[in-house]
Assembly symmetry: C2
Homo-oligomer: 444 residues x 2
């Protein structure tokens, strides 16, 4: 049995206290040894990373376009790949808040399927979810039910399941407004249920369906929208799933709390912990809530307790200082990126990005522009109808094609929430691209 | 910034080394403080447990039938509830192996959706899964693909999806052999897919379908079976999903490695970590594998990285000493419980349990009886056709009804994998129950 004597106190030595660590010291030392490996600021190393052939510790995992043992080598000619929605821009925040965000999980922690109250949902985590919404003012949670899911991804399916008409002889019609997040369609097609079917765009549906009976419609409203960041409202006015993944102060001014019957949120775009797969639904009706619970139980027998205990730690840090440190960090990053991006696009007539409109933000107490997670880029020239190809061949930039969002390929989505390296490379490539039409451009 | 100086060494002090903990010390101290709270051996306390009104630390969560602040009070007349399949009997093992099974997760650990190789699957974890199967000899993994899911629960759906005929105008027929695990039916009904439908028992299906073309059948084979522990083979000989959740040396002699095209396993019944929700599929065909990957991506955008890093720690301990410590611990527990259970049932003519047949176990190198996770109890008296009601009203024992497994209610399933308290209470209640017909019974 190992024993560790820990002298625990401030760096000044003024508050030294002696405590003993026994079973946890080895795991703590291991995690610190791994974290101490340098990846030159262009990568990081994880506990469960691959082990080098002659080593005992895992090796660096480099950000895109960097290589070498310590990620110090830039790969020349590497494309700026801003296709994914990985929220890596949060990493430095969590490195700065390492002490309070770390979690030590014992080998016997939460082995059961269920919590003490027989549910699949951590009461403490739910408490902090409610606290956070109250501080931010972005959603009403009073008198509402909360269910956790495997990211908000799983909750999209659970929501469609819960709202669909089980007894109907014809399936419910699932709609969204172009441009929309492709997973709405992808999941509906994958599950190929007899209860619901994907019927595409709300406006097209309205034109083709004059019926005043919209009870058999389930509408996805993504607000702010992925890909274009627009604040959206229901088009149909039927059963609605409000996907609020991006409804946080770093992406949009929070003007008024959302107060809909069914709202979805996710840790991924709130704190950057996409890998933890933790989302939640805020639900008004007891019947819908019960159907969510049934879905999560039957599909998965609940969600990871390890994700929930880590999510709790993360949310405890998120609400520190009434959320100001987290949201200020994230908003400052996004603001800086949007300013630099706008500077480049303003020099171009060939490429444009979405317009942004100022709104009062109750959280930051100021009128400000939205700073969406994605730039929705348009190729303005008549002949550039395959914008993705133009950007890739002329600019060495890889975005996500407009057709992925059921829009035209005259549009491409750029992620602005990746690592600083990724964004810097995007800016460099964009500057080079725009300088082809406007040689006077200089970077900020 | 806190700094901790750690003197790390053996208790004898002979191998002291000094190392410094910085960011991880607080989380380690917190976890140890929580773990040090006494729950009288009748409960445990977790990091994310509820906080008492006037306290800072979470409170004890008592095992069923125990109460009070420190779980010291037995609740008189409390029913022996052996309905759930919670694998809590493993808890003491992980408390004994606390040092190597703990994991410290930093705030910035694995924030991305994907691992460095762009997959949703930890390469290191996959390596240890293969190692473990090789040591135990219960499944062939060479030349097979492995996919992780949210427990094996999610993989049941993924498997049916992958094997179902997408282009067929008629749905695939999903079958299982009575008595079978209710989730097979439950999920199929929940998803209500156009690609597949649940058609019940294999034998009934065979009687009603003389067609030699069985291509549109997907058969679940649970081996050992839940609820009765039987080693099973395919009845239909069509597309097969081998659910091997219980195919480990603590539940059954491992006579020969399973070598089927599609096999499912789960951490839950292997190490007891049901709450971690980590299962895996071992897959022969590339096309089936690709469909699993598509399913996991579309349904959930991958599974929890926190579960995977913890699973890795747990499997590293599981393979220590070639798996002997873990499987010996678990087998000894199960063997002891079966001996005590058999002793009681042998005194009864009113109640019986399943027959067990010895088999050679290559892992333990001996011929032995299986020690299934569940007792499959039968009420033998003609009038006791609602065995669950008899056990509850006469014996104060709550099991899972036979009808849940599509069998008759003359059967009831008892879980034997709960906490020691739970099993001891079951034995006590059973002894009292059997003494009604056989007053000479004494407990072992």
């Amino acid at each position: 049995m190992y024993v560790s004597e820990v002298r625990f106190g401030s760096k000044t030595g003024s508050e030294i206290s002696r405590q003993t660590l026994t079973w946890s010291a080895k795991a703590a030392l291991e995690a610190e040894a791994v974290a101490a490996i340098s990846c030159s600021g262009h990568g990081r190393v994880f506990l469960d990373g691959s082990i080098s052939k002659d080593g005992e510790l895992p090796v660096c995992e480099c950000y895109a376009c960097y290589g070498g043992l310590n990620c110090s080598e830039f790969i020349p000619g590497c494309a700026a790949n801003v296709d994914s929605g990985d929220p890596i821009f949060f990493e430095p925040f969590w490195m700065q808040h390492a002490i309070n965000s770390a979690v030590m999980i014992s080998g016997w922690n939460r082995m059961s399927y269920r919590y003490a109250d027989d549910s699949f949902i951590s009461v403490e985590l739910e408490k902090y979810v409610r606290k956070l919404h109250s501080i931010v003012g972005n959603a009403i949670t009073e008198g509402r039910y909360i269910v956790f899911g495997v990211g908000s991804s799983q909750l999209l399916s659970a929501a469609v399941y819960a709202l669909s008409s089980k007894n109907s002889s014809s399936p419910s019609n699932v709609l969204a407004s172009i441009p929309f997040y492709p997973v709405y369609k992808g999941q509906t097609v994958l599950f190929n249920s007899q209860n619901f079917q994907f019927k595409g765009d709300t406006k097209s549906w309205q034109m083709n369906n004059n019926s005043t009976n919209n009870n058999d419609v389930i509408e996805f409203i993504t607000s702010p929208n992925n890909p274009d960041g627009e604040l959206k409202k229901s088009v149909i006015g039927a059963k609605a799933i409000y996907d609020h993944a991006y409804f946080w102060p770093h992406f949009t001014p929070i003007n008024t709390p959302s107060n809909h019957d069914l709202m979805l949120f996710t840790l991924s775009k709130l704190t950057g912990h996409a890998g933890t797969r933790l989302g939640w639904a805020i639900i008004k009706d007891k019947d819908v809530y019960d159907q969510f619970l049934n879905y999560i139980m039957m599909a998965d027998m609940g969600i990871s307790k390890d994700s929930q205990v880590r999510g709790l730690k993360i949310l405890k840090v998120a609400i520190e200082g009434d959320g100001k440190p987290l949201f200020k960090f994230a908003y400052d990053k996004m603001k800086d990126r949007w300013e630099r991006l706008t500077f480049v696009f303003n020099k171009s007539t060939r490429f444009s990005i979405q317009q942004r409109h100022p709104l009062y933000c109750n959280f930051f107490n100021e009128t400000r522009l939205p700073t969406p997670a994605y730039a929705w880029v348009k190729c303005e020239r008549e002949e550039d109808n395959d914008c993705g190809a133009v950007l890739e061949t002329t600019g060495n930039i890889i975005g996500r094609l407009g057709s992925q969002f059921s829009a035209t390929d005259r549009y491409v989505r750029f992620s602005l929430i990746g690592s600083q390296d990724e964004f810097d490379l995007l800016l460099q490539r964009l500057t080079e691209l725009v300088s082809l039409e406007n040689p006077s451009i200089e970077t900020m």
